[in-house]
């Protein structure tokens, strides 16, 4: 009885903590890394005062935020105002349950893993909309409206990209999708090559879906101050921040898993030590993708709102639909090698 309880309840909780706690620390270090990288790209130093190389800056910021007062605006909807940050954070963390870190390391090897991810990422937008509405502020409401329209538009393109991957891999299970990319040619067996346009669309949609620059009109500090979270302060704001960065890291991991072979090594298996797959390869790939988020932010000016809508609906979705057909043909005529093969 007690053994069973430990088996079914305690170990999953330990595993969940093993994912979420490093994730939260990773978010803190990612924020620090972002400020450093953008500083270097602006020919500045970035944070360098607190701790060695400024490494403790992120923790100092977190402590500062947590100690500040959470202010409730006049006539705000109290319950929804406090619920909204949690509604963004919970899906952002829950989505990590199905991410496979290596062939054995996965919390839940669910059969419908990709669908679960779509469901979780699409629920994050509620937090943003409710934050905008419950704040009783014009700027926040405008930010929420923009965000809702943008996330729904780009989710369609993202979903069609995922369909291409599913057609080639023949499975909704993320571990199976990575295994389908294994092969003797290493790097050139991964799905980025047959699905190159879709891969690009997926990553750009991921940037748009997380409301990051150059698609950050939901915040748009030059027009609507800070968009949906303008009224939030202290720990409530910190939760929004945490959710946004956890989502960025999630999109980086997903791009690595779906198109870049996950934990597989880019070198052929015959090359000895570096030819073996491992969790380190996944981290390296995800790091490169998350670096690109920062690179975009430092490089591109913000898109105008109508341009964002045009890009999503008139460019990305048609290309993705055509590529679903192309992927079907590739699979049907056996032009792509699926699985370890020979």
């Amino acid at each position: 009885m007690l053994d069973q309880l430990i088996q079914q309840l305690v170990w999953p909780i330990v595993y969940i903590l093993c994912i979420t706690l490093p994730l939260i620390v990773a978010v803190a270090m990612f924020v620090f890394w972002e400020r450093k990288v953008i500083g270097w790209m602006h020919v500045r130093m970035g944070p360098n005062k607190i701790g060695p190389f400024g490494l403790l800056q992120a923790f100092a910021d977190t402590i500062k935020l947590l100690l500040k007062e959470v202010i409730l605006p006049t006539n705000a909807s109290r319950f929804l105002y406090y619920l909204a940050p949690l509604l963004t954070l919970i899906p952002a963390l829950a989505a990590w349950a199905v991410i496979p870190f290596s062939s054995r390391m996965v919390l839940s090897n669910a059969n419908a893993g990709v669908l679960y991810l779509l469901a979780m990422t699409s629920m994050g937008v509620y937090g943003i909309i409710l934050a905008g509405w419950a704040s009783n502020s014009r700027y926040a409401l405008l930010g929420a409206m923009r965000s809702a329209a943008q996330v729904i538009s780009y989710e369609l393109a993202m979903g069609l990209c995922l369909v291409c991957v599913l057609v080639l891999a023949g499975s909704l299970n993320l571990t199976d999708i990575v295994n389908a990319q294994a092969g003797s040619k290493g790097l050139f067996d991964w799905f980025w090559l047959p699905l190159l346009p879709v891969f690009v669309i997926y990553f750009i949609s991921g940037v748009a879906e997380t409301n990051r620059a150059p698609f950050d009109v939901a915040e748009g500090e030059s027009e609507i101050v800070a968009g949906f979270h303008v009224e939030y302060s202290g720990s409530a704001f910190a939760i929004f921040f945490l959710a946004e960065y956890a989502n960025m890291i999630l999109v980086s991991f997903l791009a690595s898993i779906l198109f870049m072979g996950g934990w597989l090594s880019p070198f052929p298996a015959t090359w000895g030590f570096i030819g073996h797959g491992g969790v380190l390869w996944l981290f390296i790939k995800a790091f490169v993708f998350s670096f690109m988020f920062l690179w975009f932010r430092a490089s591109f000016p913000r898109y105008r709102y109508d341009q964002i809508m045009r890009l999503g609906w008139k460019v990305f979705i048609p290309i993705a639909i055509v590529w679903v057909l192309v992927a079907g043909c590739l699979k049907y005529f056996g032009l792509v090698s699926i699985g370890p093969g020979v």
Binding site: Q4, L5, L80, A110, N111, A112, L115, Y116, L118, A119, S122, M123, V125, Y126, I129, L130, W133, L141, A144, M145, A148, A149, V151, I152, E155, G159, L172, D306, Q307, R310
Partner: protein
């Protein structure tokens, strides 16, 4: 705790949440709260389906309804300026019609459940687990082989619905100014600006006199 009992408790818990939130949808005064209650109804229904091993349908319900349709609902309800008083009047006026619809739906559902119960021995166990494949794989196989024609017809009807909705709401405004994105992309910078090459400094000799003002 044995798994079956736990499953039963979960079923009742999700069921209670579903019914309670469905009641909240029609009884809450604030329309935004009512929409959120509807979201909760969809979500707990999805949980119930998940318990019944229909994982594809459950996740599709969340993706389509919770993730997209209800976001648009919320979007519209937030933009509307709804007068609560007129809403109350409508409630009393439409109550008889609503009751009739509800009673008809209830009898239909009871009839369906009765027919299903009679066929219970014919339906047998979950076909996906009998076939030994995942729910999604089984459903996909059934939809694209056995039920291909009904599936395609349903897709066609949905497409017609989308086209009809766009055709009904699309209006070309002649008084508004439109920008053609393709024209904007094709702009040649040389048509717009002229870059003049010139030295950064003038020679020392012909510096203008105005710059050499005496200091106070």
């Amino acid at each position: 705790m044995n798994p079956q009992l736990f499953q039963l408790i979960c079923f009742y818990a999700f069921g209670v949440v579903t019914v309670a939130s469905a009641l909240a949808v029609i009884s809450l005064r604030n329309t935004v709260h009512a929409v959120l209650a509807l979201v909760l109804t969809f979500f707990s229904t999805a949980c119930l389906w998940m318990l019944a091993d229909a994982e594809f349908l459950a996740l599709a319900l969340i993706v389509v309804y919770v993730g997209a349709v209800m976001v648009l609902f919320l979007f519209v309800v937030m933009m509307l300026d709804i007068d609560q008083e007129t809403m109350r009047e409508g409630f009393v006026k439409f109550l008889p019609v609503g009751l009739i619809v509800a009673v008809v739906m209830l009898t239909e559902m009871l009839g369906l459940i009765g027919v299903r119960a009679m066929h219970a021995q014919l339906m047998g166990p979950n076909p996906a687990s009998v076939a030994g494949v995942s729910n999604t794989a089984w459903l996909g196989h059934a939809l694209y082989t056995q039920y291909l024609l009904p599936f395609e017809i349903a897709a066609l009807i949905l497409t017609v619905g989308v086209v009809a909705a766009v055709a009904l709401t699309l209006r070309q405004r002649t008084d508004a100014r439109h920008e053609s994105a393709s024209q904007q992309v094709r702009v040649n910078p040389r048509d717009r600006i002229r870059i003049v090459k010139m030295a950064a400094e003038r020679p020392v000799g012909d510096a203008p006199a105005a710059t050499q003002e005496p200091r106070p």
